[in-house]
Symmetry: C2
């Protein structure tokens, strides 16, 4: 159980920077000779870019991916010399901002290419190979194939694409996307450039998918890279909430908003200090759980903004007293399990953890 500050009833999110660094090293070793460039967008998937990025840089990471100019600007303040790629590309009117902070846009369209031509600074080129999200369209690839001088003016540090179904190792779409990407690269005479198609999951699809650069995000933070396979990543976070009150309930009573949940038998409930205002998704109503030691405590009724109610059963377990911490995410109950209960994925569980939760960092240590 976490030590909580006196008088502090907030949930506690403990983030193990050493585990993040260990995950990065494992991925970097697996992907070598490809470079493993961490994705730290969305505040390092909700875990705190200001702590995570310097820890990874200290361990040797030298290239990073963020989503937006604002994230890149914040990362540049933390890492003066790293290569920083902005996945959303060139914002309209944003060239000066990118240049001022030496950020590398992932050019996604002819508009972006034209906007960056003349910038005399490196760029990445984002090609769409079937995700139909950001990246050059089929029409734009054809247009560029007929006008190679338009690419020749760019200093391309990276040519990349992104997989739609990388978590599904057997999905034939993965190889189709890789082949489409490689065909486009040849067509645009970019075979000599550094190439990248894989984020976390793609690394585990085999050596063909690793190319020159991989861009792990989720796996760094402990999320399983492949569906239906054991998770090889170290767990990174522990999320705990404090029991504020324990109550006796009787058959027929209702619990929580909407009186949706009726008590079936006499017993005890605990009210804990975490709710959807802290990022604990409301979809966990009557589905999520917490652990006190090895005792599973199901969520009863709706999740409130600041509180959840846990079923202690007919006999409250030892230690289920006000002030005790219960585990929402940790060794007994991983991110994926909570995500399954909430009907979402581990990524959203992490990014939802809001500003009200108290973050505690376990240091990465010194392993230069």
């Amino acid at each position: 159980m976490a030590e909580t500050a006196t008088g502090d009833d907030r949930p506690v999110l403990t983030i193990d920077l050493a585990a993040i660094v260990a995950n990065w090293r494992m991925l970097a070793k697996l992907a070598a000779p490809a470079i493993a460039a961490p994705a730290v967008k969305a505040d390092a998937y909700g875990l705190g870019m200001a702590e995570v990025a310097p820890a990874l840089a200290a361990a040797g990471a030298s290239e990073f991916f963020v989503a937006t100019l604002e994230e890149g600007t914040a990362l540049r303040r933390l890492l003066p010399v790293a290569s920083i790629y902005v996945l959303n590309g060139l914002p309209a009117g944003g060239a000066a901002g990118l240049l001022a902070h030496r950020l590398i846009p992932c050019l996604k369209s002819m508009v972006d290419i034209e906007g960056w031509t003349g910038a005399q600074a490196p760029a990445a080129l984002m090609m769409d190979s079937g995700l139909n999200r950001l990246g050059l369209t089929r029409e734009e690839v054809s247009e560029l194939a007929g006008a190679p001088e338009r690419l020749a003016k760019l200093d391309l540090a990276l040519v990349m694409s992104h997989l739609a179904c990388a978590e599904e190792a057997d999905n034939p779409m993965n190889r189709r996307q890789l082949e489409q990407f490689q065909a486009d690269v040849r067509r645009l005479r970019l075979s000599g450039k550094r190439l990248s198609i894989s984020a976390s999951s793609g690394i585990f699809l085999g050596p063909d998918f690793r190319l020159a650069v991989v861009r792990p995000g989720a796996a760094l933070y402990g999320i399983a890279p492949l569906n239906n396979q054991p998770n090889p990543m170290r767990q990174v976070i522990k999320l705990e909430a404090k029991i504020l009150q324990v109550r006796r309930v009787d058959r027929g009573m209702s619990v929580g908003y909407g009186a949706t949940r009726r008590v079936a038998a006499p017993g005890f409930i605990a009210i804990a200090g975490m709710g959807y205002g802290d990022g604990l998704l409301r979809s966990l109503a009557d589905r999520g759980c917490a652990f006190l030691g090895d005792r599973r405590l199901p969520v009863m009724g709706r999740v409130s903004m600041d509180l959840i109610t846990l079923d202690l059963g007919a006999t409250a377990p030892d230690g289920a007293v006000p002030g005790a911490m219960v585990e929402l995410i940790g060794p007994s109950h991983g991110v994926e399990e909570l995500a399954a209960e909430a009907g979402t994925n581990g990524y959203e569980i992490l990014t939802a953890l809001g500003g009200r939760t108290r973050r505690t960092y376990l240091p990465a240590g010194k392993h230069p």
Copy 2:
């Protein structure tokens, strides 16, 4: 459409402080002579306590509700003289922190009462009347009824309870809770104290429910107080995202992660710069929508961390170009509509809006 800063592709959340103040005035007038004390917990339901609370104080609000000691401490820095109630009560070891910032705990249990006895500072008393969340249990009420000297030592500024089903005007549980609360108040000889049972919705259940103090939260921020009835509140927020790229798609192509969504007919899609990393719930996959003017643009496929994909139809509407802003929440598509699409309530829609969204405030004006 919002003016966005040059090079800034983030979503924009526009918060109309004048509308929040107007909602507070409307509720205060309706509830009078009861005092309308705003709930500004969870960062004013995600809209920014630092802006919202001073605007309400300038309009005349003098008592406020937060959930935790930390929120109370932050609010005290903003409002040196307001009465600030901490709904989660007395944290273990937190009396000194509350006293230092003149915060008023909502004592929820015998443990809290004992912890505050001798503090020589005001408290509120939270009684549970059927929600089975925080508050004195039936057993504790009986215990206190037999030992009135334990309450006599407290300076009770407020005696309160909380409704479970207040959004349902016809639910008989509302009156049962009110009667239980009033019976408990009489039993504890607290009838001379200021009483409170209603948050936003309770105000609309009729004069009996207004008592001395009402504690509106959601309705201040534009959320409908009653289910299945017209929303009398002014809308407070507009949420917009920027189109980053427009693509042609053809029959049989897939869109987004998991390739879950197949294109049925040739047409156009727009990729906009907002995702669950910004608090746009992942449950909106294939269910949410955005508006461009009066044209409804359904969400296609999964919501990504940083991006959503919108269906522009067979013919892209005028103005659906990179750089244009689409409306996720606003006059065309209210908080409740987005909440229904996401399978949640408006409260979670608001509190989920994360730190990456750019907030713009429309001033409350000067109406002392």
